[in-house]
Symmetry: C2
Subunit: 149 residues, 2 copies
C-alpha cells in the first residue's frame, strides 16, 4: 500500500530535510501516530496508521487509524461520536511517526474507558518499586452505554 | 527481561484500572515512549523502551531509551549533553505506551538534527497531494560539531 499511496523513503538527507512526504512504515506497515488536543496540547492517545489510514485522514480531515487488535481501518469516533477533527499533522525527522493535533467531538473524550486521555495514571517509584497512582479523573462518558458492552 | 523487572500484564480490568505497573511489551520487547517538554507540553520525540530502559529511567531520573537502530540501551544526551531529566512518567490504558515529561538539559534540543523537537515539518495536502512544509526553525546546535560526523 505504501508503494501506491506514498513514495518510498529517500536518502537520510531527503527524509530529514526534504519536502517529500514519504512515511517510513515499519515491517508491520504502520507508523506511530501521536494524538494531542489542538487547543491544550495535551497528549490524548497513541495509535498506529498504515498508508490507507493516512490517506483517508488527509482526504477527510477526520482521523483514521489502523486498529491492530481488530486488524482493520478505524474511523475514530464512528461508534462513540468522539471523532478526531484534524487541525494539523506533522511528521518527525525520519518520518516514522506522525503528530496529529485534533479537536475531539462528541463527549470530548478519547479513551475507550470514557476518559479525556488514555494517559490517566502516573507511575510512582518508591523504595525501588514502581506502581501506578490512582486516577482522580472522572470519565466523560459511560463505555457500557456507548459501546453496549 | 520483562519477567524479572516488571510483572506480566494482568487482566484487561487490572491493566486499565489497577495500581500495578505491568508494561505490555510488544513482540520486540518494547513499549512506545512519548517525550514531551514538562514546561510547555510540546511533543519532543517518540522513542522506545524495553524493561531495562524503563528501570534505569526510574532509578536515575534520566531518560534511557532503547535504540532500535543501534540495538542498545541509549542514555539520551550522554554524547550531546541534551539529557532528559524526568519530571513525570505516566502510562496509558493498556500500558503499552509511556508519556515522559522531561526537562531538556544542554542545548535544550532533543532532535539529532539540532532542532528543539523532532516534529519540525507540517504535512500539507493540496489538490490530493501530500507534501512537507519547509521548516522555519533554527537548529539549536550543530550536529557535525556535537557528534563529530
Amino acid at each position: 500500500m505504501s508503494d501506491t499511496l506514498f513514495p518510498a523513503p529517500g536518502s537520510k538527507s531527503e527524509q530529514e530535510s526534504g519536502a517529500v512526504f514519504a512515511p517510513k512504515f515499519g515491517a508491520d506497515g504502520l507508523v506511530t501516530a501521536i494524538v494531542c488536543d489542538a487547543s491544550t496540547g495535551q497528549l490524548l492517545m497513541v495509535a498506529h496508521m498504515n498508508a490507507l489510514a493516512i490517506q483517508r485522514s488527509l482526504e477527510s480531515g477526520e482521523a483514521h487509524y489502523w486498529s491492530r487488535s481488530r486488524d482493520e481501518l478505524w474511523h475514530k469516533g464512528k461508534t462513540s461520536g468522539n471523532v478526531h477533527k484534524i487541525v494539523e499533522i506533522s511528521t518527525d525527522c525520519d518520518q516514522d511517526a506522525l503528530l496529529l493535533k485534533v479537536e475531539v467531538e462528541g463527549h470530548g473524550a478519547t479513551c475507550h474507558t470514557g476518559r479525556l486521555s488514555c494517559f490517566y495514571r502516573k507511575i510512582t517509584f518508591t523504595d525501588g518499586k514502581a506502581a501506578l497512582e490512582a486516577d482522580a479523573g472522572k470519565p466523560l462518558f459511560d463505555p457500557n452505554e456507548v459501546y453496549g458492552k
